[in-house]
Amino acid sequence: MVDTVMTEARGPKPQKAVTGPKIIIYTTLTLLAIYYLAPLYVMVVTSLKTMPEIRLGNVFSLPRDVTFAPWFKAWATACTGLNCDGLSRGFWNSVQILVPSVVISIVVASVNGYALSFWRFKGANVLFTILLFGAFIPYQVMLYPIVIILREIGLYGDVWGLVIVHSIFGMPILTLLFRNYFSSLPEELVKAARVDGAGFWRILIRILLPMSTPIVVVAIILQVTGIWNDFLFGVVYTRPDSYPMTVQLNNIVNSTFGEKEYNVNMAATILTGLVPLLVYFVSGKLFVRGIAAGAVKG
């Protein structure tokens, strides 16, 4: 299923001339596209307007005098609680959470997938099955006991605690991804290396990882968007000072103090969505492969 995503259309053959059905198809698709693009368009134009213009005009109109002040304010001076250094704080917090989480979760999952493919021990498949079913357990069921565990090991409220949590909850899908990839490789590869005297780690590092670039890229895409977009774990496991960008964004926009500055709010919202959007548009079909891989879970 994963690989067939990219093949060309194989539906019924189209008629040669532009006929009725074709017009209906393109019209429907265009209307849908407008529905999908409208919010993005509205966000962008709102963020470039001044507040007086927002109060007078309508959300779809282009800004009369373009201003970048809301963007500046959202990034550098908007307040949440006592901090008035804008979303930049959340951005850097998110980066600090993101980088180690992505690295650790991918390292752990690749080792898991490798062990499950080539070095299966008794009970390994049972663990893997539990892991896959675990992916469906609502996070709320596990949130509180994890608070206790993190408090016991002294990482509750710490960025590293959140890194561990992200590595844990990224594990099912990433392990599946790596296991499926490694299982598709010829087993002779590992057998030959084993005969040559290479051990568990050496085979992984020298032989398998160098040929895993495509799957590592898919894993990075999945993790970067997933972790950047997280809100629940950020709210539960970090302190206000180290809140990730999504949590800070929500606090800025939904704060009940003062007058609502819709242009600043929209600029802040776009800023927070920028990282996953960038990943999405740069990675293109690999992103689709990532979610298709997620879709064949189980």
Binding site: Y36, F128, P138, L143, G199, D230, V253, A292, G294
Partner: protein, 297 residues
């Protein structure tokens, strides 16, 4: 670290086992251990701190006797039913349209899928603004001259959940489309040739032949959408904070508020155990189905 000289059966298993410790801890301590812990403590009277003071089913009694929980379930049922129905139907239609050898297929697909890359917080805030009664879509249409036009679901407690639904569909339908498209591309082209020769109309081919053949893709999409519905939380927090009144409260938010705001841990544990039960109800038929498919080969 590794025994690279003599890979005996014993040492190779040891390396592999050591390497699998994080996986074992995650599976056993977090997924099984923590879930069990929560279920066990849902039978206690824990308030601010978890305490093993048994109170039987009283947390569940109280839960099902609480208005807010009942409303949360009703909201989730409305949201869930509509979300499943519309995302599946629209997702399938989008996939079928994209499968007609059209131009700009990739452009359309990118447009339909990009919201899926965005977080629920961003989605919720975006739609909060789109549906803003004073400045949003309602005002635009009124400015066009239809002054009686009313479209402000987020401020109307009867319709607020549909405002959330609009955002949820915007964000999630692209995923269904991608899965369905993959399913469509997996169907043998000969089937299309055969039905064309027989003169069977296209819509009939889709309903009678193609959809039954896509069972796998459809079920995958159903399970993914259904489990994401039960988890819905960030979207609500960002878009409506559960309001107006209780109009958009959902179970996940009930759990969070009980555990981390109202210092009523026992209630939070009981409510989250109910969420787990909902997921299990969805998963069991699916697992049985997958198992049967696998045995059938």
């Amino acid at each position: 670290m590794a025994d690279s000289k003599r890979p005996s059966i014993l040492s190779r298993n040891i390396s592999s086992k050591i390497a699998s410790i994080p996986m074992a801890l995650t599976a056993l301590v977090i997924f099984i251990g923590c879930s069990t812990w929560t279920v066990v403590y849902s039978f206690t009277g824990s308030k601010l701190l978890p305490k093993l003071r048994w109170t039987g089913l009283s947390q569940y009694d109280r839960l099902w006797g609480t208005d807010r929980w009942i409303v949360s379930i009703e909201n989730l049922a409305i949201y869930g039913f509509c979300m499943l129905l519309f995302s599946m139907v629209v997702g399938f239609v989008m996939a079928a349209l994209l499968d007609q050898r059209i131009r700009f297929e990739n452009t359309f697909r990118s447009i339909f899928l990009y919201p899926y890359a965005l977080s629920f917080v961003v989605t919720g805030l975006t739609w909060q603004w789109m549906l803003n009664p004073t400045f949003g879509v309602q005002k635009v249409v009124r400015d066009w001259g239809y002054t009686a036009f009313t479209f402000a679901p987020l401020t109307d407690s009867d319709y607020a959940i549909y405002g959330v639904l609009m955002a949820g569909l915007w964000q999630g339908t692209g995923l269904v489309m991608v899965i369905m498209l993959a399913g469509l591309r997996g169907i043998d082209e000969d089937i299309w040739k055969a039905t064309r020769v027989d003169g069977i109309p296209k819509w009939k081919t889709y309903i009678r032949i193609v959809i039954p053949l896509m069972r796998g893709a459809i079920i995958t999409a159903l399970v993914l959408v259904a489990t994401s519905i039960i988890k819905v939380f960030d979207l609500i927090v960002a878009q409506t904070q559960g309001g107006p009144g209780l109009a958009t409260e959902v179970p996940a938010k009930y759990v969070m508020d009980m555990m981390f705001r109202n210092q009523n841990l026992g209630q939070g544990f009981a409510a989250s155990t109910m969420m787990l039960a909902f997921v299990i109800i969805i998963l069991i038929p699916w697992t049985v189905y997958e198992y049967r498919e696998k045995r059938r080969g």
